[in-house]
Symmetry: C2
């Protein structure tokens, strides 16, 4: 795979997210790309740590929700650039935050394997993009989810950062 992950295009002040920020050394650093074999779908891989459990041997639902969350906002950003016919490093930047998150836990997700998180654009309306997602463990879909990602004006991001003195 030669693609640069969506999250690696995030500018520095948007790159501290615990789920997907390349500058958050304590975080999950999720990396998402378009599937080269099926460009309508995005994909990310993640291997939970031994302590990321709900019960021994099975992955914690809150982590699975985090994977759905960040893979969703990443896919939404990539989809917005694609929709606009623009490369992801072009300006002005298109930023997305999570408006809402829904996760259905279909089966227990086994620990000790690399999980595949997949996403597909379900709906694009103005500043809102809905991404449907699913998580696959050893060939079995264990989780389905949906993220409503909301495009955030750059000005709001700047205001938020100013308020915190960053």
């Amino acid at each position: 795979m030669n693609q640069i992950p969506f999250q690696d295009y995030y500018p520095d002040h948007m790159a501290h997210c615990y789920g997907c920020g390349r500058l958050n050394e304590h975080g999950y650093q999720i990396k998402s790309v378009w599937d080269e074999n099926n460009p309508e779908e995005s994909v990310a891989y993640f291997t939970p740590k031994p302590h990321h459990i709900a019960i021994p041997g099975y992955v914690y639902g809150g982590l699975l929700a985090s994977l759905i969350d960040c893979h969703g906002t990443g896919t939404a950003a990539a989809a917005a650039y694609r929709e606009a016919g623009r490369p992801m490093d072009s300006e002005p930047a298109l930023r997305f935050l999570t408006g809402s998150l829904h996760v259905d836990y279909l089966k227990p997700t086994p620990l000790g394997v690399t999980l595949e998180i997949r996403g597909r654009v379900k709906e694009v309306k103005r500043r809102k993009i809905v991404i449907e997602e699913w998580i696959v463990a050893e060939g079995v879909i264990t989780v389905r989810g949906e993220v409503v990602a909301v495009q955030v004006p750059e000005q709001l991001v700047e205001e938020l950062l100013e308020n915190t003195g960053k």
Copy 2:
């Protein structure tokens, strides 16, 4: 507050959850109780760490989803004992896992303050309990969520643990 938190009643093999297990030293160890001033509501307090951010100064949505998740299943278990008129240390144990999780992010949640996570039973049907929840930061509701918690037969828990050799 003199109550024992709901999660401290979980038996050892259910006490390793990354969100709420007292035996998971890397986890969040969320503790929930009934609100003494309003026994229809449960409450938990949590102070995110500096790296639990979405953007600098604001709490990561995946962590907020985790708080909703574990406070929800904890409240569901406590509600099931209450409904049955039984103390939480009585047998057989009533165990709940998350069937589905929904989170609406209403506003950015500020970092650096203790968050209050509140829950209320919305619906009880046979083995399913729906908990509605909200998160308060400095007096403002920033997140609303809902957990559908599913009662798990003790036998299934034992099978899952046997499968993983625990």
